[in-house]
């Protein structure tokens, strides 16, 4: 499973939305993720990928696509799919 699908699964699990509604253009509001959901998603993504996402960076995410691109940019090259 690629990075995007893994993050989608995490978000869908936390917000209990159907993952099919999540696109790269979706905002956290559209995914029905409140501020606690977002923090929990960040923590889950950090643990899944072994990276650290400071709030200073996370606050810049405008949509799901930004989140995915950020995580991809933080992974070692070989892990990208």
């Amino acid at each position: 499973m690629n990075v995007e699908e893994q993050i989608k699964d995490i978000l869908a699990r936390i917000t209990r939305v159907d993952k099919s509604i999540i696109t790269r253009q979706s905002t956290f509001k559209e995914i029905k993720a409140d501020s606690l959901d977002v923090v929990q998603a960040l923590v889950a993504v950090e643990e899944t990928f072994g990276i650290e996402i400071p709030d200073e960076d996370a606050q810049k995410f405008q949509n799901f696509g930004d989140f995915v691109s950020y995580v991809e940019s933080r992974l070692p090259q070989k892990e990208k799919v």
Binding site: S35, L36, V39, Q40, V43, E52, P54, D55, E56
Partner: protein
């Protein structure tokens, strides 16, 4: 300097009240373990400012809402320092919602970080304080005993924190460990900006008899006192730092405060 050679862990000390406490204890000679969860840059800045005071700082990332992360944090302290003199249980989180909207997730998140962390940290800290005594001070808020809008889950967590403080104080007393808490009203921090946004607090200067808002240093000063030997006989107490807000409410109402 009264805390020379002591080692203090301050949870959530990247910013706000925790940062002010870390700097205050450092200014009295204590080495500091700076714990953070979401703001590494701030934590590293706190550590730099601590080191500028001539003491050591160790930055560690640990979400105290996660029991495994608390274990890792204390394993590190045990391995690296083999002791702990002061635990400041400051890290806190919360969800600002009306009662009807508090779900299990919001409840557990808040309780785990604000209350369970004190239990788990105190258990581990007490072992590192064995034979040397120590101080445990938690940060509470007025919401533990007064009702603030949309503050239910945090207020309840702080009430539990205060109760736990009393129980810990008695159980740990024979080991020479002093356990207390400081309850503040709204303090001017980054977190407060969030609460303003969520509508949890209004401008509290109007209801503070002391004429200004509480600042992190006001809280840090009292915490530092509780960490001193002068406070040895204070056990299981909740010291309120609110510029008179809680005792002055009726007086202010009489004045027709907005």
């Amino acid at each position: 300097m009264s805390l020379q050679g002591k080692l203090a862990l301050v949870t959530g000390s990247g910013r706000g009240i925790g940062r002010a406490i870390a700097l205050k204890l450092a200014s009295q000679g204590a080495d500091i373990v700076v714990d953070f969860f979401r703001h590494r840059e701030s934590a590293e800045q706190t550590a730099k400012d601590i080191e500028a005071l001539g003491v050591k700082a160790e930055v560690v990332r640990a979400n105290v809402g996660d029991a495994a992360k608390i274990d890792e944090l204390f394993d590190m302290i045990g391995n690296k320092f083999g002791r702990l003199d002061i635990l400041i249980n400051n890290a806190a989180s919360g969800v600002g919602r009306p009662l009807a909207d508090i779900d299990v997730k919001a409840w557990e998140w808040t309780m785990d970080i604000n209350v369970r962390a004190l239990l788990l940290c105190a258990q581990r800290a007490a072992k590192l304080m064995e034979g040397r005594g120590g101080k445990i001070v938690s940060i509470s808020s007025l919401g533990s005993r007064f009702v603030l809008p949309n503050y239910t889950v945090v207020g309840v967590s702080k009430a539990a924190l205060e109760a736990l403080t009393r129980y810990l104080a008695i159980e740990l007393a024979p080991r020479g460990i002093c356990v207390n808490a400081v309850a503040a009203s709204a303090v001017e921090t980054e977190a407060l900006k969030f609460y303003f946004k969520e509508g949890l607090v209004k401008d509290s200067r109007q209801v503070t008899p002391a004429g200004r808002m509480v600042v992190p240093e006001d809280v840090a000063n009292v915490v530092a006192f509780l960490c001193s030997e002068e406070a040895f006989m204070i056990r299981g107490q909740i010291i309120i730092v609110d510029g008179g807000t809680s005792v002055g409410l009726l007086a202010l109402a009489g004045k027709g405060a907005q």
